[in-house]
Subunit: 150 residues, 2 copies
DNA sequence: ATCATATCGTACTAAAATAGTACTATTTAA
DNA sequence: TTAAATAGTACTATTTTAGTACGATATGAT
């Protein structure tokens, strides 16, 4: 479905929330209540974000989570890659050649080309851009693509 | 997972196969055997392709399927849209505003911007391009994007 | 020291989406 | 009339995704 999972959507929401409270440590409970994502789910996501070094955590009383220093500058491509595991559109175009019909596939590496294009499209947008939509609007308006519509 | 379904992958494979046998009618059985996709699945996909006017069908004895005239010129974006139903990356960025946390979402329409970029990336590649990879390689080499890597 | 409050890791369960199959009806050329 | 093909639909199995729970560990305050 060319679609990221709900979890990744939540994750970005949470990251954005952390970005708003610059540097300050927030507990999972606070984050859950602000983003309206259920507490257990918030916790789960925050742990993952921490493992992937997108947020820093402090254990114990008055602990919590805060944004890593350079997380704001991470590209959406890199973000989705760490959160969703892979940016490939199709499985058969992944690096590990597990495709069953590979030998008979006359599409060849066309999917890979498409993957690459998508990746390019996402490489230029940072998490910081997501939080400041106006900046993106400006950004996009200067990148009118070749049109070959249908 | 920013990933299209197996079914769509199969569909493109089948379309490519039909494109190779230009205009000639092939039975579902033939297509299944050539693409190594199971017969029932091939049939299922071919029916869908037919309903979406990507292939034409002839019923009865000596019937079969063939590519619609202008299917080769359809963009990958349009292709994925008809096959996968939607090109949106996230659900909340779909047109129908069903997002539960919409009111609290400070990402705003950033996802929509990203969706747009991806859509642009896929608008310029046609099904025909997929079948002739060399043409794509050339195509891509002339479209070096702005790099802001991570 | 102890306690209250956090995160951490892991395992488990439920729900939803996807994939695959089967069956009956209809069409068509020989 | 018959054989061979598509058309529609409904059903089942599998896989992925989402959500929850629980015991362990860490930390600051009292």
């Amino acid at each position: 479905m060319l679609r990221i999972t709900k979890m990744t959507d939540y994750a970005v929401l949470i990251l954005a929330n952390l970005a708003l409270h610059d540097k300050k440590f927030l507990t999972a409970k606070e984050i859950a209540s602000e983003t309206h994502i259920s507490l257990p789910t918030s916790q789960k996501i925050l742990k993952k974000l921490n493992r992937n070094n997108l947020v820093i955590s402090k254990q114990g009383a008055s602990g919590g989570y805060a944004l890593e220093d350079d997380t704001k500058n991470i590209s959406v491509a890199a973000l989705l890659k760490t959160l969703n595991g892979d940016l490939s559109i199709t499985q058969c175009s992944s690096n590990d050649h597990q495709c069953q019909v590979e030998d008979f596939c006359n599409i060849g590496d066309a999917w890979q080309m498409i993957n690459q294009r998508v990746q390019w499209a996402l490489n230029d947008i940072t998490l910081g851009d997501l939080i400041h939509p106006t900046r993106i609007e400006q950004f996009i308006s200067t990148n009118i693509p070749v049109t070959r519509n249908h």
